[in-house]
Structure formats: C-alpha cells, structure tokens
Subunit: 362 residues, 2 copies
C-alpha cells in the first residue's frame, strides 16, 4: 500500500447502535469483482524461519505483512521487539473469521428462536414483529426495520439465565446450517485466518475476538472453533442480574440492558474496558472495524492493521462497496475505509488473490 | 469450619452503590480481638509435594485448605481434576491483597488529586465538597457524605484520557505513603496472599483481581505488585468515549458514566461480563465479596472460598464486626457473612493466627 492518497477521515461514525440502519436480511447481488488488482502487491522474500507458516496464503504482500510483523516484534534483536506479555492481537469475527452473508449468524439464531419464545409468551403470537417472523415470509422478514430487529434480539437473547442461554445457543449451533453450503455455521470459518490465529499464538500473541456480535453468543463456540477462550472474547454485552433460585442456588439473569455496543468506536472502548491494553495487531473487514484498527495502529513501534476484502463471489461472497464491489447491507467496506487503509498503511487482504483456499473443507 | 450453624442468608444486599452508605474516613477504634480462637482449626498433615509452598502461612486449616484444593484439582488422577484452561481464581483487592484501612487507597488518591482538579477548574474552589477537601480539616473531610464523595470521585477519575489518568495515578503511587507505616501503598500488600497468587499460578491457575475499586486505577500497578496483568483486573468501570486530538490521533476520554459497579452482586455480574467463566476459587474479606464466593462455590466439583478476617490490631488492623471485632466503615465482615461462611464451608483466614508475617518488609 502507498500513502499518496489524500484520504479524508470519516468524520461522523454512526454510533447510535451497532447495526446498519437498514433492514439486514436483503439478499445480495453478487456482482463480479472489478478491481482486485488494486489490492494485491508483489511478493517479498520470506525468511527460512517462516517456511511452512500460513500454508493457505498465497505468497504476496498480505502474507508477507504478517510474517514481517511477527518477525520484527518477536526477535529479541529487533528494534521493535515487543515483550510477550504485551503481545495482543484482536480479530473482528463476522466477515473476518467466518461468513457473515447473507445475514449475521446470530441474527439467524434469533429468528430461529422466535417460535420458542412465542410458545412461552403466547401474547406475542399476534404482535409484530413476531407475527411476521412466524409467517416464514422471507421477503417480509427482510423488510423488518432495525427497531423490529432489536425487539427480536431482546426477546431471544434476554430473559433467561446465562447458563440457559449458553445451552440454547449450543444446541442450535449443533443443528443449524448455512443455506448456501448446507454445513454448520461453525464450519464456515476462514482457514487462512485460523492459520493466522495459530501462527500468532505460536509467536507468543494472545488472540482476542472483538466483535459487534453478542459476547455471550460467541463465547459458546469460540474456544472450540477458534481456540479462543471465553475470557478473550469481547463483544456486544448486556447486563445481568444476580439472583437465587428456589433452592437458594445463585444465577445470572440476562437483562435487556446494553452495557457495551462493541462496534465502531465501541470496539476501541470495549478493548479498553475488557483488555486494558492497546493491541499490537488488529484484523477486520468493515467500517465497524475502523476505530479498532486506528486505536491499534496509533500505538508506538511495530503495528499491524489488516482488512479482509470480500472479492470472491465464486468461493464466498463479493461485497464492498469499496474496490468497485457491490454494496451490502451487512459488513460494508466503504471507499472511505479503503482510502484510510492506504493512508494508514493497513494491508487489504484479497480473499480472491491472497487465499489459496477459503474453508478447511474446500 | 462446620456447618451446624443455622445461618440466615443476607436477604437484601445494598446494591445501589459499591460504597458503604456512611462516611468513609472515620478513624477506627482498634479493639483487641475477642474470638480469634473461633477461626483456626487444627493442622492436618501436609503432603511432601506441598513442602515449601506458602512459607508465610502457619500450618493449620487455612493453609491446608489451599494445599488440598490445589492438589485435588491439578492431579490428573483426582476425581475433581480441573483442566488447566478452566482454572480461574479471583481475588478481591482492598483488605484481601493489601491494606484498606483507615481509608481505601483510591479514595486517598482522589482526595489528593482535588488541588490539581481545582487548579484546572477554579470555579470549584469555593464549591462543596471541594472547599472542604482543600481546607485540610480531616474531621470535616471525614464527615463528607457519600454523595459528596461521588462528586470527588467523578471529578478526579474522569474528564481526562485513559493515558493521562494512568500517568497521574502512577506518579501518585510513586510518592504517596500510608500514614501508619510511612511506606508506599504498593508495599502494603499481604505477603501470604502474594504466595497464594504465586502458588496458584505455578499450579496452572489464572489469577484475577475482582475489586470494587476502579479498574483503571488497579490496572496501573497490578502487574508490578501482584503479577496480575491489566486484562486480568476486573473492577468498577466507567465508560470512555473515543475521539481524536488536533493531530488526528485517537484517544479514549474517561466519562462520568458507571458501566460496572463491581461490588456485592456486581462482582458475580462483573465476572460474567469480563471473564465469562465461573471461577474455581475466590478470596475476599468483606460483605462485598459474598456473592463472588457464592457464585464461585455454586459450581460443580472442588471449589475454594476463603475470607480474610482482620483480627490483628498489633500487626495490621482489627475490624469486623464478625467474631466480636469492632465495627468498621471500610471492609465490613458481618456476623451474617461469618455464618454463611460456616454454612458454606468457606474458610476464614485469621491474620493473627494463620499468617507468620503480614508484609514482605516485616
């Protein structure tokens, strides 16, 4: 990347909520990629120490940026050496570690939970937006407003204990399948990113997820799927209330009270709240990750900021609207972010050109 | 401990705030300990594997409880073996890891910061409670209400960036001294508890601080003083707001908005929010730690709950009011908590009888 582009800062991020202010369920038009050639850069020489790392990555600027970052921060002789305890790397989840199209997985979960919620509260059966969800009319569901969606999220993610929620989410994940691949959502993780997680951990980095998705939801499977333990998952979080059941055993009840909206500026704020250190490396894929990368890369010494560009309609999805890709309701990567990436020397990862394979099952 | 005592549950914890609803700065009457003999229990045989662990602990039930817990949770042949990744131990700070009398250290910090805050905002000079603090009249300061104290906390802990705050707190800690020992507050840590932290970590446990004190404040020194990194400090936390300085560099501004009141039930809620796992062991010293111990010990398998009883006026302080000790404005250990400890088989640690030494400098 070069920095000759006069990139204007995105002045006023919409911080009012972590979700795009439009309906989320519209289908995507998968237009062919126009400008993939803007993304990749020529390969640089690898050191022998790196041989074998990141096998699902094509040799090129993106792979090299990761290898260079790790080498210059972990070799004791390096001027930008980072002590092991300060090695923190943060990863967005949706669109960065796993598929986010055509709808965020957790939103699918919430929609699927509506019948169970209505069974417990029959008065919701004829009330909107539950009635529409129960109708199964996908077009009508796709037109639900953000306000409707929030009602569904609160109804399906709160009002149960933390242990009940974890059991429900786990059961759903064991059976639900993505409509395109007909596989569990937990298999739709990007093999090249799993390799980055492993490579960073093997290099002494502590890897965190910093997601706009629900913290409690992601914690259910992050350890198994990504090797990231619950205490290293930062996400959008609601309050709980401590109480006792009839046997005097304590529980934590999930409440419809937002404590952390872990998206956009909330990601930097959430990193401070939950980690308390500035990361050295950050990976994202959308405007929601901009502040996380800014905050990470504003620290001293060697820093790594990377953004996944979804430019591979054949193997996954293609959406931007940066780089001439079609616009998207979910996970927007805007031209303004693309310009900031150039200016800030963040590396844009082309799924099409930088990744040999997308999934482990490919 | 035995469980024959019919201990009534403390029914209505004051959850409205994390501070005792009285003035905090009153001196303590250090009455002699009446009932230390209730606390200790006869020593049990130690295994050879434990030889040399916890050298500042007297042989006795408290030391043995720690050794037994570690052995039965880390030996692979044990029926209550816990895998390393699930080994979480949480520690209250004030009164459990370091001295909390006669006033919480962070409150002293806030009072000491008032002149600097008033210098920046001269309009506060004649406004209460700042005027009283500036007067230096210790009796008047001791009579300040909780509402006054909150004003002081907000004025001295918010309105600066996270980096400015950390620098201010660090500078204060380097020079401020406790009036009784004339030593830095960071030297007034309990040597026996440092040994527990080290012993648990050597046994694969991840040690966390879960404090009613300010998360940002404790993170400044926890690594150096306790070997606990910032990301393992859970405390009372306020919101921040992401912004940019005139050079476009991002900052996080500390805001007077409470996100987590990490005391009483808030400790269990904070553990869920920030760790996302139920601890296996928890250490506290006051009613503020009750729910943390309940939440910890309600899990399956081997659990360890311990409470430090301050019954050593000669070497530290003596306050309860449990066990016939004088009442206290700070760090109350009530008879109800004492009864619950007996019922729940939590171990009460007598500072007088269980600890050979209190401080490293002793």
């Amino acid at each position: 990347m070069t920095d000759e582009h006069p990139a204007g800062r995105v002045a006023s991020a919409d911080r009012k909520n972590g979700l795009d202010r439009r309906n989320l369920l519209s289908g995507l038009t998968l237009l062919p990629l126009v400008s993939a050639s803007l993304v990749s850069a020529p390969a640089l020489a690898q050191t022998s120490a790196d041989a074998g790392a990141l096998p699902s990555w094509q040799d090129g600027a993106a792979k090299q940026a990761i290898l260079d970052f790790v080498r210059t921060t972990t070799e004791r002789s390096s001027a930008t050496y980072i002590p092991p305890e300060e090695r923190i790397a943060t990863f967005d989840q949706d669109g960065t570690l796993w598929v986010e199209q055509p709808v965020y997985t957790q939103v699918v979960y919430c929609l699927d939970r509506v019948p169970a919620v209505v069974a417990k509260k029959p008065e919701l059966k004829e009330a909107e937006p539950f009635k529409t969800v129960l109708s199964g009319n996908r077009e009508a569901i796709a037109r639900l407003s953000l306000h409707d969606l929030e009602k569904i999220l609160f109804a399906t993610l709160t009002g149960m204990t933390t242990e009940e929620f974890a059991a429900e989410a786990k059961a759903w994940l064991a059976t639900a399948k993505h409509p395109r691949w007909n596989r569990p959502y937990t298999e739709l993780v990007y093999q090249p990113m799993l390799e980055v997680l492993q490579y960073l951990r093997a290099s002494g980095y502590k890897t965190y997820i910093v997601t706009g998705g629900g913290q409690d939801f992601v914690r259910v499977y992050a350890d198994k799927v990504y090797g990231i333990p619950p205490e290293q998952v930062v996400g959008t979080a609601g309050g709980t209330t401590y109480g006792y059941d009839k046997d005097g055993k304590p529980f934590l009840m999930k409440e419809p009270k937002l404590l952390l909206n872990d998206d956009k500026a909330g990601k930097a704020e959430g990193i401070h709240l939950m980690i308390g250190r500035r990361p050295c490396a950050a990976f994202g894929n959308s405007d929601g990750d901009r502040e996380m990368l800014e905050w990470t890369c504003a620290g001293p010494g060697a820093r790594l900021g990377m953004l996944v560009l979804h430019d591979d309609a054949a193997r996954e999805f293609a959406y931007g609207p940066a780089a001439g890709l079609p616009d998207s309701k979910v996970g927007r990567f805007t031209p303004a972010l693309y310009d900031e990436a150039k200016k800030s020397k963040w590396t844009v990862i082309s799924m099409k050109n930088d990744w040999k394979r997308i999934f482990a099952f490919g």
